[in-house]
């Protein structure tokens, strides 16, 4: 229960950065933190107390392995989610660089003011 609350706290910090910060890089950092929190929560859900990684080693009994292993399903979906997070960050950084080139500033409110 307590680890879940840690993940929730990270999620809320990321949301706070996205909403309340004005610097565009800070907003990208907020998105990154939100991604970390979600990935962490998914893995925490699949953890079994004293569990072993879901990789069979030679000469291990299959039934014993199935009774002790942690959950492989959220892990498999998180692998792709992390890589997609990288793609999203690259896209956001590309947008930030483009905005900087156009307006010469990273401040969101400045950009709003200059837009007209």
């Amino acid at each position: 229960m307590i680890p879940y609350l840690f993940a929730t706290a990270m999620l809320l910090i990321g949301l706070y950065a996205i909403v309340a910060r004005r610097n565009l890089i800070k907003i990208v950092i907020g998105v990154a933190i939100t991604e970390y929190a979600v990935n962490l929560f998914l893995i925490l859900l699949g953890y079994r107390a004293g569990g072993i990684p879901p990789i069979l080693s030679k000469g291990m009994d299959l039934n014993k392995f199935a009774a002790n292993s942690v959950d492989p399903l959220p892990q498999a979906l998180t692998v792709t989610s992390i890589v997609i997070g990288l793609g999203v960050i690259a896209l956001l950084v590309a947008l930030v660089l483009r905005l900087y080139e156009k307006y010469g500033t990273l401040d969101e409110s400045e950009i709003k003011r200059l837009k007209g």
Partner: protein, 151 residues
């Protein structure tokens, strides 16, 4: 980007071969040890990134021009699709149609190593493409000042 000093360059020369070897190991052994196409591809992109940091952007672009990079990228995606569609020959979408072999051998688990290789190529080359885009297309100019005309 001009590249770095002689020390970094020489070490990059020595190390890059082994980084590529390690990424291939991570990809090929994805179904036996931890790893797989996604981390292997990212390691491949990081190896090329090392070259880009040490020698400047021109050398990696000479080794892997943009056109060939996009061809490889599409090849990876199409290969994965082809494996998915070839499943129809034996039954349904994404059926593991190849012979399974026995566990703990390198050639086992049917289509999985092939899928891993295609995903690795795709992820590595597309991340390489976005890194070169980030380093090549952008040079920063003060607002209001037009970039000089060049290639």
């Amino acid at each position: 980007m001009k590249g770095m000093s002689l020390i970094v360059r020489t070490i990059a020369r020595v190390v890059t071969t082994f980084i590529i070897l390690y990424s291939a190991y991570i990809v090929v052994y994805g179904h036996i040890t931890p790893g797989g196409g996604f981390p292997g591809g990212v390691i491949l992109a990081l190896g090329i990134m090392l070259l880009m940091l040490a020698f400047g952007k021109d050398l990696p672009l000479r080794k892997l021009p943009e056109g060939r990079a996009s061809v490889l990228d599409c090849l990876g995606a199409l290969g994965f699709w082809a494996i998915a569609l070839l499943g129809f020959t034996a039954g349904y979408f994404f059926l593991n149609f190849l012979g399974k072999g026995e566990p703990f051998r390198l050639v086992s688990a049917g289509t999985m190593p092939l899928s891993n290789i295609f995903i690795g190529i795709k992820v590595g080359v597309s991340l390489f493409a976005v890194l070169t885009a980030l380093s090549v297309y952008r040079r920063f100019y003060p607002p209001g000042e037009e970039p000089p005309e060049e290639d």
